[in-house]
Amino acid sequence: MTLGETLERNGISRRGFLKFCVTTASLMALPPTAATAIAEALASARRPSVIWLSFQECTGCTESLTRSFAPTLENLILETISLDYHHTLQAAAGEAAELAREQAMHANEGKYLLVVDGSLPGPGSNPGYSTIAGISNLQMLEETVAGAAAVVAVGTCAAFGGLPVADPNPTGAVPVSAVVRDKPVINVSGCPPLPMVITGVLAHYLTFGKLPELDEYGRPLAFFGQSIHDRCYRRPFYDKGRFAETFDDEGAKKGWCLYRLGCKGPMAYNACATMKWNGGTSWPIESGHPCLGCSEPDFWDAGGFYKALSVPTGNIGGTAAVAGLAGVAAGAVGGYLSGRAKKDARTAHRQVTADELEQKL
């Protein structure tokens, strides 16, 4: 059965489906015409096989994807792909479950997508911290990745290590990319990631047969290309220097910028500000809470959620720290210059008069 047929059977109209494709296209900054291509490719796609492994994680990512605002097209699409193996979602248990994984691997050798959520104890550490069916996470990942076309690391834990990696990292946890070297890894970070981002990545893969363009952290640029700060509707207050200082002061009530309350928006790259959460209802900053920067490496160690922007101190975060600092500096310089240039321009203003205009006739 094709995806189109399955959707039809589930009562999703062609119109609803096209709407999904148009949204996907625009979210990925593709021209509107790409929506048709996406629709055609998706509708006729034979359920691609997906194997989903969950390691050291809290299941928040799976919750985000499957339960956030059910039933939506996004999760129907997720259900429609052949999720041949998913610890949390599958009915099978014990040996039957492991058998399913092995069968899917053999039947779709070289073609299946491997989705991983959670980090895993690294090669040097005690494998006993996390095992499934007596197999260590590391071994299971290595076995499964061998025949995969690509790996999607879902959630900040899989992408950057997340909570398990936070200081002092007792399990010696590492992200997926630390282990997988010979296959493309797409990091869909966020704690949890936005549901639409993962379906977007899958839709892109099914449509164009290749992975979307990635940033230097392996994240799809379409969704992680701009910072929360760049898209934040409170940005005009930031630019004017209007900040809430506590959660219940005048500024907070007036919706001023949350920077001083610890907002990590300026260094967080994610699509929350445009896509929002819970089916577009709201998002953290809109509900009055600063961004935690959950889509960034080492966000747990970034020096306190409510401390005005500080940068991660850990190792992996080295680059992020520099990037973050440079970002803030650029913002400040930009702000200063624009103020000065504008003032200069104002003083230099030469009045346009009707007489002058007349000379042009």
Binding site: S26, A29, P31, P32, Q226, D230, R231, Y233, R235, P236, D239, K240, T274, A330, V333, G334, L337, S338, A341, K342, D344, A345, R346, A348, H349, R350, Q351, V352, T353, A354, E356, L357, E358, Q359, K360, L361
Partner: protein
Amino acid sequence: MSTDNTVTANTAAASESGSALGPFSLERGLQALREEMDAPTAAFFSSCVHCGLCAQSCPFFVETGDPKYTPIHKLEPLRRLWEQEFTLWGKLKARLGFSQPIDDALLEEWEPLLYDSCSMCGRCSLVCPVGNDIQAMVRKTREGMVASGHSPEGLIAASVRAVNTGSPMGLQWKTLDVQIGHVESASGLTVPIDQAGADYLVLLSSMEIINFPEYLEAIAKIFAHAGVSWTLSKDCFEATNAGVQIGSKDIAAVLVRRVVDAAVKLGVKNVISPECGHAYTGIRWEGPNVIGQRYPFKVFHIIEVLDQLRADGRLRTEGMETDRLSMHDPCNLARKSGVIDEQRNLMKLVAEDFVDMKEHGKYQWCCGAGGGVSSNERAEELKMAAFRRKKAQIEEIRPDRLVTMCATCRTQLEEGLEEYTMDIPVVGLTEMIAEHLVEDAPPTAAAPVKEGAPS
């Protein structure tokens, strides 16, 4: 001694074409653009996701299919200045010699994009998913175009006439005076002139005075019927603002100032903008900003005043139009100012068979003539192209007649319908209301008052 190549090159270019640019120059234009740069504009440029939705919303793009008419693309001169002078990355690029200059050639190329293919209808601003106010940036960019000497002749001439004669079409009080004579003899009413202390100062548009003299007569009748105290002013009868259209806040300020002075001199509490969309946004929203001062009076569009009279029970009408009527919402009134229900309330009063177009109110499509497009001869062809969107909307519902409340829209609708040989007359809403007033009723201070209305 300047070692900077670009500056020397620019100066040379400017002096070469010196005569064509008049007292304007590239440098003066760039200064004007710099002045327009502010935090929202910078945020808008950095937030554009290139989704192309603005293209789909613009009648000029939709009807021509030419990608150069994509709204955000029309802002290239302003965008380049922002990138080169207000972003770190752009400065770096400029220093390394990677950026393309903003020169006279660029501005010349963009002149038709900023003037001929944009009616400032604001539909792009409405649909942009990241909230970019594109039409406001078109307005800003035009400041730079004027100061660099790259604005269309038609609009320059209109601005000069507006400042020097008091009307963009060169009308003077004596022309209006003749009109007033006709109105008075036809209606048997007196048109009040320079009445200090009147409640309302009525402004007109030259287009109305020339093309639709019925309007003034309609106002006189309705206000006599409802017992409204009003006046015209000899010092200032023109409501439109050519400065807003060409994109010069200096010229706009001169014209707004005139209205304010006349209103203050007569001591009126309210000023009424005529059936003209851009005059309304100009005087109501942009006016206080260009003169940097609050008004000591309120501004209304005539339709808002009529609807208030209706709500207060001061408009008593009889008889209904029986043919199938539809309505064109002027962009400036509906989308940009939120006046949407008022005209429909009034239609209910006098029309039995009213049908809205599919996309109406804030989603309506522009007629194609606003934002100075109709004063710019070069834009004629594009103006008619943009009208095809409206035409398609009209064809969908096939009304017998169309009603509107903007003289520019009305002229464009009439011309467009004629061009496509569609026999659909266009009527102004104020006139239609005037035709249905109960005759010879006494002034209605004592008329039945609706609950909630001030007695």
